[in-house]
Amino acid sequence: GGTSKDDVKDEGGSNATAGKADPNAATKKGLTVGFLPKQVNNPYFTTADKGGEKALTELGSKYKEVGPSSATDTSGQVSYVNTLTQQQVDAMAVSAQDPGALCTALKQAMKNGIKVVTYDSDTKADCRNAFVSQASAEALGRTEVQLLAEQLDYKGEIAILSAAQTATNQNTWIEFMKDELKDPKYKDMKLVKVAYGNDDAQQSFQQTQGLLQEHPKLKGIISPTTVGIKAAAQYLSGSKYKGKVKLTGLGTPNDMRKYVKNGTVEAFELWDPAQLGALAAHTAVALSSGQITGKEGETFKAGDMGTFTIGKDGVIDLGKPTVFDKKNIDQFNF
């Protein structure tokens, strides 16, 4: 006897939807929405959550933020889900450190009538009502390759400097990058290595050094993480590779301003995290108001941001990322 993987295969699958949506229901006021980022004190999440706060204030609801001080403290995040449940918030917006670990706690929360939106980083689909995605993973992955390719004239060895090996979103994007590279127009470009800097400045630094030493012919690096691209840029700008090895990826304009100006980096991209947070807030309120339930095809209006449609598995896409370069970077401040 015994229980093995095959015995439990059939469970899970789609997102947790219940009841029926009433698109015309009134937007409730006076709700409390708890934001639970992967890590408090992280500039990216702070910007995102600030966006959420602003949106909630406009909607006449209350905002609160809780969260662990370390991005790898999964158990800490779980207990914050529990805390929010205890505090009987109306909805929570969670950026999950781990797709599975939060599930039990989130389901517990939904059982208590709390609406759960994930943003930035998703859980398994049945553990939340909807997921607000920063941009479609596909768009992100493909555009980064395109950005780099243009800078390299579609020639040369390239590498990827990612965050943690376990980072779900990073891995999805990398898959799409690899897929994009299969296109014949990239036949002279070769992905030689994926390195992991664990979102730690020093490790990302050394990984960049290692990439350059191991692959002397390396021409370009994609770093789809804000910490990674920053560390790589700082290393490149202080080394002989400055300007010779191209770097692109996901970064914030404030982080990257210096490197764009001193010629280390030509262009990179990112969505606006404040918009991401705002959309998560709108989604949470819409769920609580009963305007949506998280089913594919439902639509709702998110203030000035326009109308959004829920996609497969309850995923809502924020839209296309913005590309930053010398010309436009000074228009942004986040």
């Binding site: 093995s4 993987k5 439990v8 207990s79 205890q86 670990a101």
Partner: protein, 341 residues
């Protein structure tokens, strides 16, 4: 030296008071929270509290014994992570959970044995060895499971690890823990084995000359610690329904902090399990309460730190007061006791 012997004696009685004090503090915190903190007293929250504290408590049991005997194991969290990772990997292979769990426990035994052998056979300092294995075991976990996160363990196991008995505040997992706690308390405080651990911790050489098999005892302790760490790893993976290579990262510092708070002296030879467990749950309860009160994670860190510093300063102050009181006549120079880590 004479004076320090005196202060040592006083410190000893202060220490006895200290683990009592931690226990008392725990009770005070619980009572206050019951009456004043919204959402604290209900059964669900209490079960959350206990469930989230259990991993630390589980490891604190063998860690207390180890520290009493003058050693330390910093690799426990990595061992837990490794057994979780192996559990996930084997589960992905399609093995049954009933075979996987014993394999993982065995793995924990091996991890502990490696630590123990390095410490006892080569005579290496356990702090250094286990910092090494801390990295090594975590690294192996990463090799084994890579970036996977395994979440689809059978529901009856998940329910056991995260569920509670009916609507009470008692998580299922608390019951086996209480049994383990009882075993550990008896082993440390009521058996010849435990008695000799105190001797080993206070003076290894004297213990050896008294015919105590110091090395074998330490080996046993490291092995048991490995076993308990892997048990914790399994519990962790099931409790959070997620097996990843980085499960329980940093747990060792929480355990060490809690055990220290409970008055266990890292020089060895002193401490009680009651104090250690009180320390564990005191930290757990405080964190729970502070979160409910919307105290930010940053401030919680400060509180933990202040508590730790107080945990050693308070007995010291109490000691000085009692010395001062005891000794208008016996006012021995208070410059005496040597400082040691």
């Amino acid at each position: 030296m004479a004076d320090s012997a005196l202060t040592r004696a006083v410190r000893r009685s202060a220490l006895v008071r200290w683990d009592g004090a931690v226990g008392a503090l725990l009770i005070v915190v619980l009572l206050l929270s019951f009456t004043t903190v919204d959402g604290f007293g209900n059964a669900l929250n209490l079960s959350f509290l206990i469930g989230n504290t259990l991993p630390i408590a589980l490891i604190a049991l063998p860690m207390t014994l180890l520290v009493v005997s003058g050693e330390i194991d910093l690799s426990v969290a990595s061992t837990a992570g490794l057994s979780g990772a192996v559990m996930g990997a084997l589960w992905n292979q399609g093995m049954t959970i009933e075979t996987i769990i014993p394999i993982c426990l065995l793995l924990g035994v091996v991890c502990g044995l490696v630590n123990g052998l390095l410490v006892t056979r080569l005579g290496l300092p356990s702090l250094a060895v286990t910092i090494g294995t801390l990295a090594a075991y975590r690294g192996i976990a990463q090799i084994v499971l890579g970036s996977d996160a395994v979440t689809d363990f059978p529901t009856q196991y998940l329910d056991f690890a995260s569920g509670r008995i009916g609507d009470t505040f008692v998580p299922y997992a608390l019951l086996p823990f209480l049994v383990l706690l009882a075993i550990a308390v008896v082993a440390l405080h009521a058996t010849p084995f435990g008695r000799s651990l105190f001797a080993v911790g206070a003076s290894e050489e004297a213990a050896r000359f008294a015919g105590i098999r110091v090395k074998r005892q330490k080996l046993v302790l490291f092995t048991v610690t490995g076993l308990m760490a892997s048990l914790t790893g399994i519990f962790w993976a099931l409790h959070y329904a997620s097996a990843r290579f980085d499960n329980a990262t940093g747990l060792e510092l929480s355990v060490v902090a809690a055990v220290l708070l409970g008055g266990i002296d890292f020089d060895g030879g002193k401490g009680t399990l009651g104090g250690a467990i009180a320390g564990v749950f005191l930290l757990g309860a405080l964190q729970n309460v502070m979160s409910l009160q919307d105290v930010s994670a940053q401030s919680q860190i400060v509180v933990t730190g202040v508590l730790l510093v107080l945990s050693v300063l308070a007995p010291r102050v109490a000691r000085q007061i009692s010395v001062a009181r005891a000794g208008r006549r016996a006012a021995s120079a208070p410059t005496s006791a040597p400082t040691s880590p």
